[in-house]
């Protein structure tokens, strides 16, 4: 029997009856999920279970065949993500959501600072202000003095911190992470995860993370298990959402 933990905080994301098909394969089969402000939600499941698809639909990367996703950020009107067109969803992702991928996917020809400043510049922030803010984020994530390094000059963990800084630079209410520590060793993985949690839930923001690693999932406040396109378990891990004392982050 599936249990729904009480989220205890106002909802940020409300997904209802999500259905997503790839050809004849049903990747999501009537998924309902509510994610509260300040939660850290780990989505787990076997390969092909639909966990990444769920994250992509929640974040507006993919549109579902049926169902809806409502994004209710504090201080602004609710947005029905699934009703937006391609350009509006791209803008939403650029300006109000953050993303961290397994391989970082940074531009190799740009420096760390330029990579982090890019989302702000894409949103029209002048370059000096964008680079200044990017530098602050890099410093906050322990990369002070590495602003001018390129991807090839950074270790895997450092590159992933740059990716986290890029995800955070536009101050998104929610960060989506897809196997953010999947390519790292266990020690680096733990420190990158700490950086990710501190910079999101540590500041009262929300983290939605796809992972295959139990230890990584256990550091989130909530664990959602997906199988065959359905949520088969949804439980609190015992960790509190938005841990007290770390709110406010580096700013």
């Amino acid at each position: 029997m599936m249990t729904h933990p009480s989220i205890g905080t106002p909802p940020l994301l409300t997904a209802r009856n999500l259905v997503k098909d790839y050809g004849t394969t049903r990747a999501l089969d009537g998924v309902d999920l509510t994610v509260g402000i300040g939660e850290s939600v780990a989505i787990m499941g076997p390969s092909g279970s639909g966990k990444t698809t769920l994250m992509h639909v929640l974040s507006g990367i993919l549109l579902p065949e049926a169902g809806s996703v409502l994004f209710t950020a504090p201080g602004s009107d609710p947005v029905e993500v699934t009703a937006l067109d391609e350009d509006a969803r791209a803008r939403l992702r650029r300006e109000r959501l953050g993303f961290v991928f397994q391989d970082g996917l940074l531009l190799p020809e740009l420096t760390a600072q330029e990579n982090v400043a890019l989302p702000l510049m894409l949103s029209g922030v002048p370059r000096p202000a964008a680079e200044h803010h990017a530098g602050q984020w890099l410093a906050a994530l322990g990369l002070d003095g590495m602003q001018d390094r390129r991807l090839g000059e950074l270790s895997g963990g450092q590159a992933q911190r740059v990716a986290i800084a890029r995800a955070q630079v536009a101050d998104p209410q929610v960060v989506y992470a897809d196997e953010p520590t999947g390519a790292l060793d266990s020690v680096t993985s733990a420190s990158v995860l700490t950086a990710l949690l501190d910079s999101t839930v540590g500041r009262g923001h929300t983290l939605v993370m796809v992972t295959h690693d139990e230890a990584t999932a256990a550091r989130c406040s909530r664990l959602v298990r997906v199988q065959d396109g359905r949520i088969v378990a949804d439980s609190a891990t015992g960790r509190s959402a938005s841990p007290a004392g770390s709110q406010g982050g580096h700013r």
Binding site: M121, R150, E214, A218
Partner: protein, 483 residues
């Protein structure tokens, strides 16, 4: 560190097996296969089997063969048309026969660089398409010999298929290009025919280029099975290039000065070196010039498009130059030659011999045609290079799409990465033409505005062609973003 999760009664967490701690459900699984048959490593027979497997499936996936085959088809058609067109001058007889022969060789010299750029781009695209699969084979334990054989075989088969289509394109376009008039009559379809031996030689050279480029591309995989290729530092273009290039030009001047002191063969060699060295010097100095201009553009960049495009060029100024550098000399010659011939035609029309007027018209046609062909070759080279780059960075483009970069923005960055270097080349070439022959160009504008309008029209058409070249790779970007 990790908190324990609620355990299900079966010993797995919420029904998910948990690696080492998951109990083995005895009797639930079908019997596993026995020990693997042992082999003696990938030998000659193994390589042959892999070869059959790989080549048999080469044309089953459109994503693998369409772009390389199309690229080599374009390379084949254009190379054969250029060679055929040049060879048509070799059959012109009479007192001007030698002059036309010299002109055709000069045009070929000008077109060799853009032609090599186009063929190189196609060969690189061919090499990139199979890097991933060959890297996987290396990881599985395939030896260097096996990987090399497979790479060469695949490259040769795809290039050969493209060249067959290219020959068909050449045969179809021969009569159309043959309508261009020279020496008072159209070249004609038959005049464009290279002849069997030359046709085979050109095709053989292109096939060899594909194979060699494929082998060169393999070094990356041989160095590291993972095929890691991220540069730690951008390619540096040293200012020493400028010194060497200037030295080359000085030597060329010296060669031309002493050309007259020996016999005919000595004269020809000196003239060839005298004209060839400055061309080489230009291609030596070009990447440095692009690096200087792009660094300036990067410093002044206000928006993301300008910033990323400038960084793109700075990543490898040599590659950016290879895409558009072939235009430098042809545009210079096109502007100077177009103005000169136009002016000569306008001022000496009265009283000139008909054959002189014909020669002048031919010279003008030849100059403008060479410039247009260089633009066509560059546009194709740009299209192929851009498609290869999109495929090379497919995962990164998808990632940028996910974080909210629109396809239009990516397209604008790609366009700027090509047009930044292109404008540099055009501004410097046209600027050099104006500075070195200002009185002639000024007079041509006054006395032969039509000829100058024709030169300007060719330049505009050329730029439009290159824009088309970039746009031609957009479907590849779209497919990557959809994937």
């Amino acid at each position: 560190m990790s908190a324990r999760l609620p355990a299900s009664p079966s010993g797995s967490r919420a029904g998910i097996p948990t690696g080492d701690h998951a109990p083995t459900p005895a009797g639930d699984l079908p019997a596993m296969p026995g020990p693997s048959p042992s082999g003696t490593g990938i030998g000659r027979h193994g390589t042959a089997a892999l070869l059959r497997l790989f080549l048999g499936k080469l044309f089953s996936d459109r994503q693998v063969w369409v772009l390389p085959v199309a690229s080599f088809a374009i390379v084949g058609t254009l190379t054969l048309l250029v060679a055929g067109g040049a060879s048509s001058f070799w059959s012109i007889t009479g007192e001007l026969g030698g002059f036309y022969l010299m002109l055709s060789v000069f045009a070929l010299m000008l077109l060799i660089f853009p032609l090599a750029g186009l063929a190189g781009a196609a060969a690189k695209l061919l090499a990139r398409r199979r890097d991933e699969r060959l890297s996987s084979l290396r990881l599985l334990g395939a030896g260097t010999g096996t990987v090399r054989t497979l790479a060469v075989a695949e490259a040769a088969v795809l290039a050969a298929a493209g060249l067959v289509v290219g020959v068909a394109g050449y045969l179809v376009l021969m009569p159309v290009v043959g309508l261009i008039p020279f020496a008072g009559r159209p070249i004609g379809g038959a005049g464009m025919w290279l002849g069997g031996p030359w046709l085979a030689a050109v095709l053989g050279a292109l096939l060899l280029l594909a194979v060699l480029s494929s082998l060169a591309g393999l070094r990356r995989i041989e160095i590291t099975p993972l095929g890691v290729r991220t540069r730690q530092q951008p390619a540096r273009v040293h200012w020493v290039r400028v010194v060497l290039a200037l030295a080359g030009v000085a030597v060329a001047q010296l060669m031309l000065q002493v050309a007259g002191v020996g016999d005919m063969m000595f004269f020809l060699v000196m003239v060839l070196i005298g004209f060839g060295l400055p061309l080489l010097a230009l291609h030596f100095i070009g990447p440095w010039l692009l690096a200087v201009m792009s660094r300036r553009s990067w410093r002044r960049a206000k928006g993301p498009n300008q910033l990323v495009a400038a960084r793109n060029v700075l990543e490898s100024p040599q590659q950016a130059w290879r895409q558009v550098g072939g235009l430098a000399v042809t545009v210079y010659i096109g502007v100077v030659g177009g103005a000169g011939m136009g002016l000569a035609g306008a001022t000496s029309a009265e009283g000139a011999r008909p054959e002189d007027l014909l020669l002048m018209a031919d010279l003008r046609t030849g100059v403008l045609l060479t410039m247009l062909i260089a633009f066509v070759l560059t546009a194709c080279s740009v299209g192929i290079t851009q498609a290869a780059q999109v495929l090379d960075r497919a995962e990164m483009y998808r990632g940028l799409g996910r974080i909210g970069m629109t396809e239009a923005t990516m397209e604008a960055i790609r366009r700027r990465s090509v047009f930044g270097p292109l404008w540099t080349v055009l501004v410097f070439s046209v600027g050099a033409a104006v500075i070195t022959t200002l009185p002639m160009i000024g007079a041509a504008i006054v006395f032969s505005p039509t000829s100058m309008a024709l030169v300007a029209g060719c330049l505009v058409a050329g730029v439009a062609l290159i824009r088309l070249g970039v746009a031609a790779s957009r479907p590849t970007l779209r497919a990557v973003l959809r994937g």
